[in-house]
Amino acid sequence: MKLTRRTVLGSALALPSLRAAHAAAGVLRIGVGASLARLDPLLTTIGDEYIYNNLLFNGLTRMAEDLSVQPDLAESWAYSDDLRRWTFRLHRGVKFHDGREMTADDVVALFERLLDPANAAPSRSNYDMVGRVSAADPYTVVFELTSPYGGFADILSDRQVKIVPRGSAAQLASHPIGTGPFRFVSYTPGDRLVMARNPDYFEPGMPKLAGVELRIIPEMSVKIAALQAGDIDVLWDLPLEQVKPLSGRSGLRIDSVPTASWDAAVMNNLTPPFNDPKVRLAFQMAVDKADVVELTLFGQGVPTISPIPPTHPFYARDLAIPPADPAAARRLLAEAGHPNGLSVPIIVPVGRPVRERLGVTLQQLAKPGGFDLQVQRVPFSSYDAEVSGKAPLYIDGYFARPTIDTSTYPFLHSNGSWNAKLWHYSDARVDAALTSARLSGDASVQKMQYIAMQTALNANPAGFFAYAVNFACAYRTSVGGVRTHPMRWFDLRSATVA
């Protein structure tokens, strides 16, 4: 470019004003998929809502991106030797967005609301070990548990247990108030949820952004176009088939992280044909999990044995996941009384593309092993009434839970709450290992027990755990200070947008 007085003057004038405009903007726009159905964090049920929960509110503890548990509203905690009495000391001087101080009474009120069956909080069963919650003084909360529980501080970092002002439950739906780094401005279902910086946030120097907007864009191709055009800065939950094609684009950063979220072909252990352990084992032998990961997830995941992902220290590394052996699977099926193979319908949820793809993948891959599966697409909304815990074979999956105990016990223990809605699985060795791990606070004992659980499960499968799936987000390179969280929410306290 030829240097003239005009261009020098022009750029000198233009640059500072441009910078000022960006700084004034400082608003991070996140593209999400669905409208938030509820603004009361205790009642939220979907990933899009959990993002909001973690921006407007705080819990007692917080889970970092590396899955370590850190202080949040509680600055420290202690537990009794029998793991039944947990004492949390709260930060002093934390203010709600309306200026009132947050105290132990607010925490007690939240847990009373959570535990009251009349409120039908979706996460209530995760906390059924809580007997009594009380405020020892304005900054100390004491939890008395009915059974020992080593991971209690961990589960307080979960999605729904966010502290709100006591007595505010009625107004949370229209004008939510929390202690979080951002405060509520407005919400238009189907369009956007607007949040602004909380100037009185209790952690000094945070947040750095002027505000956050959740933009609701259901159609993925529209969302990707919006990201490339700069209409949004972050695309939450990028479909896994997009990870590779978008990775090369300039101006974008694609981040795909391993998580403990899993999908499985759920088999009903009470009714034929899958009440026979040999049939379940034959299915496991018939299908190559590495192929499933490639076909269903476009390589963005890893085969697993149980809900414990291979990235976790408690994963049973010595248990190999072998390639498919269709001949052995057929032999085992014949032993189980199905010499000509089996013909079973497999139900897949409409509107869950990855799980639909898993169904079609298994339909094809299990064929040589003697399983003739007929895919039936059923709306996900009718799963609860017609499919869950009833159909002989169907595809379902679950998001990561904050602890290994909450990831395994409810799903695989014969008394587990989710087990009854899935496979009705019962194995004495699995039960014993899960119970022993839960009652111990010692990580080495827990590791031994969880490996024993996986060994028993591998020999007597509940169903077909297909994989631990990655979670991916796409960012414009102007976004800084954000890491992709395996729990599918965002910590935006240090986020910036240039």
Binding site: S221, A225, E241, R357, T361, V375, Q376
Partner: protein, 272 residues
């Protein structure tokens, strides 16, 4: 000789296209270039090439083979549903024209009620309560168009009932069934056949829409509406996935419509 009896250009073009599609569809049940359900991991979402003229899908399956293997499903839904509405609608319509009492009124009010519902909603109502299958899709789409056929058959028959030859038949003392079958029906055919041609188009489209919504043939079937539904996630990466079944659907609809129009020119005395 008027336009009746002449083979018009749309009729010729439509008829030839329709015949080609029908032949390919029937062949596609047994023979396609590749196995339409076989996976090929290395060839996933590959762009169209000579080996795969329509590209491959997210499992590496050949899209051309899938389109061919799925063609008979669209045709079956279209023509099957037309037959259902014909076989139920025409007798009911003739009956409603002949019987001016409560029976005729009941048939027509029921038809009015069914017409007032949007077709896709009526189809959903019929399909949503039971597990989906091809036969049920055909039945549902056919039932959606029964009321239209009833109205048409009745309107045609009402006109014919006033004609001299029908009066003559009455005067000869022929019974109701005999008049309907031997006097009315042969003369009511031309407009009904034309309507059938049009109904096939709508039925194919409605069938594809229902199957797009998950209420038609199930994966790994390659019904065209289902293929379009499955390709939606890959629209920006692999547009050929949606384009191939979409274009085929388009060609089929235009061919059926042109044939229907051509038949009308040939058969409808009031036309041309």
């Amino acid at each position: 000789m008027t336009a009746r009896g002449r083979i018009t250009d749309p009729l010729r073009a439509g008829g030839i296209t329709l015949t080609v599609i029908a032949v390919l569809a029937v062949l596609g049940i047994w023979r396609t270039p590749y196995d339409p359900t076989a996976f090929a991991v290395r060839l996933r979402l590959a762009a169209p090439t000579l080996a795969h003229p329509f590209g491959t899908d997210e499992f590496g399956r050949d899209v051309l083979s899938r389109v061919l293997a799925g063609a008979h499903l669209s045709l079956a839904i279209g023509f099957g549903a037309m037959l259902v509405s014909l076989l139920l609608g025409v007798p009911l319509g003739l009956l409603a024209a002949f019987d001016r009492g409560w029976l005729g009124a009941a048939i027509m009010r029921a038809a009015d009620l069914a017409i007032s519902l949007p077709p896709i909603l009526l189809g959903l109502l019929i399909l949503a309560v039971t597990p989906p299958s091809l036969g049920k899709t055909i039945l549902a789409v056919g039932l959606v168009y029964v009321p239209i056929m009833v109205r048409l058959a009745r309107a045609v028959a009402l006109g014919l009932l006033e004609e001299d030859f029908v009066q003559a038949a009455r005067a000869r003392g022929e019974g109701a069934v005999s008049i309907l079958v031997r006097e009315i029906l042969p003369n009511a055919w031309p407009p009904i056949i034309v309507e059938c041609g049009l109904r096939v188009t709508f039925a194919i489209l409605l069938g594809a829409s229902l199957s797009f919504l998950g209420l038609g043939p199930q994966p790994p079937s390659s019904e065209w509406g289902l293929m379009i539904a499955e390709s939606r996630q890959f629209l920006d990466q692999a547009p050929w996935l949606a384009l191939a079944p979409g274009l085929c659907l388009c060609a089929l609809l235009v061919a059926v419509n042109a044939t229907g129009e051509g038949l009308r020119a040939r058969l409808d005395p009031s036309h041309g």
